[in-house]
Amino acid sequence: MSGGSARGGSTGRWLGHVAIIAFASLFLIVFLLLPLASVFAEAFRQGMQAYLASLQQPEALSAIRLTLLVAAIAVPLNLVFGVAAAWAMTRFEFRGKAALGALIDLPFSVSPVISGLVYVLLFGAQGWFGPWLDAHGVRIIFAVPGLVLATVFITLPFVARELIPLMQAQGSEEEEAARVLGANAWQMFFRVTLPNIRWALLYGVLLCNARAMGEFGAVSVVSGHIRGLTTTMPLEVEMRYNEYDYVGAFAIASLLALLALLTLAVKTFLEWRYGDEIAAHAPGGH
């Protein structure tokens, strides 16, 4: 890239390239690869048996189950919301559209701890709706619903943010063509819209899921840390670590790290294979 014309006398520039690449690689190794490797090293420090045993403890199993449950509720909810929001943002003109766009981004700009606290403030025992909910026997804070609410809030932008630029670039002409050809709303959505956004949607869902399973801050605030009942995997990692159960902590951490690696792999594959259908591209330029 540095230009063939300058190839002759540019040893200095060449050295500069090498230095920058070396620095970046070193940085990645020290700050990313090393910690990741240490997670697995710590997890297996006392051998495979101890690793498996610590994963089979009831608290570990319940944390895994709870994490999967929370993600299984939060991700579909945000999938539906993300598609609806992207549709509204790109297909309609309405008052407050800019405000909706900003609102979708809110969870990204607010500290997760604050997000959790907001729910405590709303639904906690001393919160606005707390007493009323208590009187009706509904428990949200320090219970599973609170975890779900906090996770939904935190992961809300992923799908919508992925779809909006793509749907904006694709425009609505294909959908209009489908309507004029006699398709009803469902046929238009499932036969035209969805196929056009499927890879971007999968990409968004993937990121959403990774965050839903890995979220710590907001979940920590609303969880109450009741072992076996309201601890998700990241919370269980922290609790074990604080109890000096390093193998146990890193065993669960290794599962989260595996999820991260898997997400990364699928994400990279999607970007490589369907890059042009994920990134926004001009209509007709296809």
Partner: protein, 372 residues
């Protein structure tokens, strides 16, 4: 099908896309909506397709309210300017789309759909390319797929939005002829939107010239060209010379030339005349009123030569067309002096109130009694 558009208006936030538009469409007619961009022609097309609705006015089809039907119930074929082909479907699947989404009781059997798709692909000369995706086709091929897809639902009305806009010049001319032949074969009521007057003049049975959300004139290509009804049509269709006239007693004058009669009987003080380049007489005998003009350039364009004249008396540059073979006989070359006068013109008096707005209702068309 006969469509009657009555007083349609459509406003967007800060401009009127359609302003009191009325139009009648005969069965089997090939109608062009011609106008510059922003004139409302695409809005009108989208209203007919059911993709947009007017704020006021009605569209009726044989007495039935056309606007009450949704886009999917109208049985209209629409070809978008950029075709809007379904990018994830093959050519064949694109063409079959309209049949496949029909409710079960109206949907043809699989084999029937396949057969019909093949027939349409043959008609648009794409039978070899049925398994390709839109991204693997050229512009002209995409356009024909879009047309086949629109025709598959057997529409009663075919709408084309700038059908040749995205094609290069050569393909454009070929497809234009081909579309005209297809129309003659199918006898399908067709409306197409274009900003290209040549396209409209060549293809359409009738042209509706639009400007700023209004229809300026509706008529055959011949009538639109020969007998423009408004100053806009004069200037938009073909080329024309715009010549200001002033009234002196009973005569309307522009420099040394004058119109001997007064079509407005002493009303108005100023007017504008429009003269086509081919309607300028270039060798007016002495004694007849005419301008002393000088030839600045001669542009030879095959059988026709375009002359660039300058008339010092009224300080105007005029365009004139003559047959190339007459150049020598008339002694026309750069620098030559000649006596020019309009043989035919269309004129509009200017409003006495603000002095500049032409009064369309008092249009006058005039032809010189002297043969050219």
């Amino acid at each position: 099908m006969t469509l009657t558009l009555d007083r349609l208006s459509r406003r967007f936030t800060n401009f009127a896309a359609l302003d009191d538009v009325s139009l009648e469409m005969a069965p089997g007619e090939f109608l062009a909506l011609l106008g510059p961009s922003g004139s409302g022609k695409t809005t009108l097309l989208r209203i007919l397709a059911g993709l947009d609705y007017p704020d006021r006015g009605s569209v009726t089809q044989a007495g039935r309210d056309f606007l009450a039907a949704s886009a999917r119930e109208r049985n209209v074929g629409l070809v978008f300017q950029h075709y809007a082909l379904f990018r994830h479907l093959t050519v064949r699947e694109n063409v079959a789309f309209g049949l496949r989404v029909r409710p079960r009781r109206r949907r043809p059997a699989r084999a029937q759909i396949r057969e019909q798709v093949e027939r349409l692909l043959k008609r648009v000369q794409l039978e070899e390319l049925g398994d390709r995706y839109p991204s693997q086709l050229s512009g002209g091929q995409r356009q024909r797929v879009a047309l086949a897809r629109a025709l598959a639902v057997e529409p009663e009305l075919l709408l084309l939005d700038e059908p040749f806009g995205a094609l290069d010049a050569q393909v454009r001319v070929t497809l234009r002829r081909w579309l005209r032949e297809l129309h003659e074969e199918l006898q399908l009521t067709t409306v197409f939107v274009t900003h290209d007057q040549e396209e409209a003049l060549e293809l359409a049975d009738r042209i509706a010239v639009m400007n700023r959300g209004r229809i300026e004139q509706v008529g055959t290509p011949q009538a639109i060209y020969q007998d423009p009804a408004t100053p806009f049509v004069c200037e938009f269709i073909g080329r024309t010379n715009r010549i200001p006239l002033t009234r002196h007693a009973q005569a309307w004058r522009a420099g040394a030339w004058s119109l001997t009669e007064d079509p407005w009987n002493g009303r108005h003080r100023e007017a504008v005349a429009y003269v086509r380049p081919e309607h300028l007489a270039l060798s007016v005998p002495d004694g007849e009123p005419a301008w002393e003009a000088r030839v600045r350039h001669v542009y030879l364009a095959g059988s026709v030569a375009h002359l660039d004249l300058y008339v010092a008396g009224i300080d105007l540059a005029l365009e004139a067309d003559v047959a190339s073979e007459d150049l020598g006989r008339l002694g026309l070359h750069a620098g030559a002096a000649l006596r020019a006068a309009p043989a035919r013109l269309v004129a509009f008096p200017c409003d006495d109130g603000d002095g500049s707005r032409p009064v369309i209702d008092e249009r006058c068309s005039w032809a010189s009694p002297i043969r050219r």
